[in-house]
Symmetry: C2
Subunit: 418 residues, 2 copies
């Protein structure tokens, strides 16, 4: 193992057991202190961030990425505010999840415990640095952060502030550790540090997530790829369907819970497709449709959707559309192309709603509501580290509880197995 990473791993494992002994009050006070420190050190952080932005501009990085990279006083205040919010959430640790006794007198308690050491791999968004630390720390986990190369000076500055503030609270600095080497080889080695890291959470685009899934030997939670659909059933309330489609597609186009594809029942298609077209055109969204749609609505001059269109998370002003014969065909289409994130049926038919909800294989399945609600805050979790699109451990929005594991504490008085 790379010596630099091994040293980080050892420090993290040591700190894991120190963090475990902190009370809820210790943790909450520390989070508030860190928030105060971020505000107090705004100028230093902005100075370092300016370096990153300058280098990125010199390297002709895309403007949208530079926007994500750029910090302002307001954004640092938001980071601090996020930590304050986390300090107010209930502590998930030590919750008794179950308790049962066995005929031999053993008393078994299933208790919520931290995962231990969590690795977060993310892109050049320095706000994730404070956010990921805060969520992991509140659930008594050590975090090892590996942020994007373009944000390295910002991340170093933020982490320095956090670690010093923790230290002033008498808490191990190594509650959060930044991997300061930003080459790819280090990232790939990091993904194989099973001895020191219990869980990896990648946060970022599809490419980053695929790379982590393919390279990691540490357990990974896949997050955030959303090829989401709305199915308009024949009984749908037309105005409700239009509102949901426009909201789910256009309220914010670049996010994982926005929709990328429409499915329309054949008996409502002639009526609703032109209306959808008008509404989405107002927002400059282009529809790519199946042959049937094109033949029903020749006046719209729609471009034909390819297999690739149905499989694409556009994250922009494009949407695919397919007409189907019934809810069964709609479910089959969804299950063929879904990334298991969020799927919606608009219908007044309860039977079809239940069928869709039961048979569509996704984290969140909606009847008559926008997919944009798949979000830790909207679900009332108070915070979110990501949206899981896999089925192991956590599914859908991941809050503090999803950053925990459990253990069985077994109390005996000399029981042996016969």
């Amino acid at each position: 193992m790379n010596a630099y990473l091994e040293e980080i791993g050892k420090r993290a494992r040591k700190s894991q057991f120190e963090i475990l002994r902190l009370s809820t009050d210790d943790k909450n006070k520390a989070l508030v202190s860190v928030a105060d420190a971020l505000i107090a050190h705004t100028d230093e952080i902005l100075n370092e961030n300016e370096k990153d932005v300058k280098i990125s501009r010199d390297n002709l990085v895309k403007e949208s990425l530079i926007d994500r990279l750029t910090l302002t006083k307001g954004r640092i205040k938001d980071m601090a505010e996020g930590l304050i919010q986390i300090s107010k959430l209930p502590d998930p640790i030590n919750e008794e999840l179950d308790e049962f006794s066995r005929p031999n007198g053993l008393s078994i308690h299933k208790v919520r415990v931290p995962i231990g050491v969590i690795g977060i791999i993310y892109e050049s968004r320095p706000n994730v640095t404070a956010d990921a630390f805060g969520l992991c720390f509140k659930a008594s986990n050590v975090s090892i952060l590996r942020g994007g190369k373009d944000a390295i000076n910002s991340n170093k500055a933020i982490i320095e502030v956090i670690r010093n503030a923790l230290s002033e609270c008498g808490i191990s600095k190594d509650s959060v550790i930044l991997i300061e080497k930003t080459d790819r080889e280090i990232a790939t080695e990091f993904m194989k540090m099973n001895k020191y890291v219990d869980l990896l959470i990648p946060r970022g685009g599809a490419g980053l997530i695929r790379s982590v899934v393919e390279n990691a030997t540490i357990p990974v939670i896949e997050t955030g790829t959303g090829n989401c659909h709305v199915f308009v059933d024949e009984s749908a309330d037309v105005n409700m369907a239009l509102d949901i489609i426009v909201n789910a597609k256009t309220q914010r186009m670049g996010v994982c819970n926005a929709i990328e594809s429409l499915i329309v029942h054949k008996n409502i298609a002639e009526k609703i497709v032109p209306l959808i077209y008008d509404k989405l055109s107002e927002k400059s969204v282009e529809i790519r449709a199946c042959e049937k749609t094109i033949s029903i609505c020749p006046d719209l001059s729609l471009e034909k959707a390819t297999e690739e269109d149905y499989a694409t998370e556009y994250l922009g002003p494009l949407i695919s559309l397919k007409i189907v014969g019934d809810v069964t065909e709609a479910i089959e289409h969804v299950n063929k192309y879904t990334t298991h994130h969020s799927e919606c049926i608009v219908t007044e038919n309860k039977e079809n709603a239940e069928k869709f909800m039961n048979e569509v294989d996704a984290a969140c399945v909606y009847v008559n509501a926008s997919t944009r609600f798949t979000d830790g805050f909207e679900f009332g979790f108070g915070a979110e580290i990501g949206i899981s699109t896999q089925k192991l451990h956590a599914r859908g929005p991941m809050g503090l509880k999803e950053l925990t594991s459990y253990k069985y504490k077994v109390y005996g008085n000399g029981q042996i197995r016969g």
Copy 2:
């Protein structure tokens, strides 16, 4: 992707949605029918098993492995009985885990659902074939089984019986699929079939599990490696400690919840080590001890324990022993060498018991009871697919509930995000 495996993956995904529609009654009746069919086809299965045993003998396979491979009328009856037992367990699917409403009127139901397609990779133990199918099927999962090469004829025969019995119940044969090609390349490719398989569970020795963890891109649950300890605190009841040590070490030596290492408080060592020595000698168990033990008990002529001894899961008549100064040092020693399976403290001191239980990082932590109770049946789960030693998804004994995921069903009446 390998065409043979891709065809299997496609059949599994298709069957996943058929299995989802089965009622509890459908599943239970099918399990009983499969059990009956196994009994009815005992002779064919035994014939095929004889071929495997003969080939293994010709290849000079170890006698202990041949014992695991060999089927008898009694063992086939046990397999059938296991399926009957599974048919009597409560169905975990569709359980409502949580229900909450949001201020905007959205009603969110968190519901237990199958994982989908589960891959089981195991060694040449044909009884696992029926057992793994039964547990996965009861939780409405499709299973793809990849058993050891030496058991291929037995596995084919068993699977043929199961699939035909399912078909006679009107249930998709592809509820369980055996990978009949037994070369390593196929196994390695199988571990990367993320598109078609949601979870991999390796069942077998440490080598098999390591290979799956290192090669798989599909999420894996690590099971069954147990470097388990008993710590005898200074306040321990000596007779209780001796009973627990003898039981945990010798009741069955080759299993993952047997102990491999002892830790003894320095203030009780002089008294208890000779007694432990006597008791374990009766069972032909050899102690490898730290220098301090050797200096305290020179008469016992104990061999010195190496670093490797402390790290080894012997699964046989050897045990390591270390004297420590207090419970903190005991916890540090455990956390350095544990495989996170089962750990025990014998003590009359409640504070030390709590400290040990809180700070030892293992699935099951015992006070005053044998580690041998870490088992799905002993925990009252009614069945077990394995003991998870990782912290993601499931920890400790995995029963039917641990073979499930959840989804959020969100009911709205036109809600859109502002």
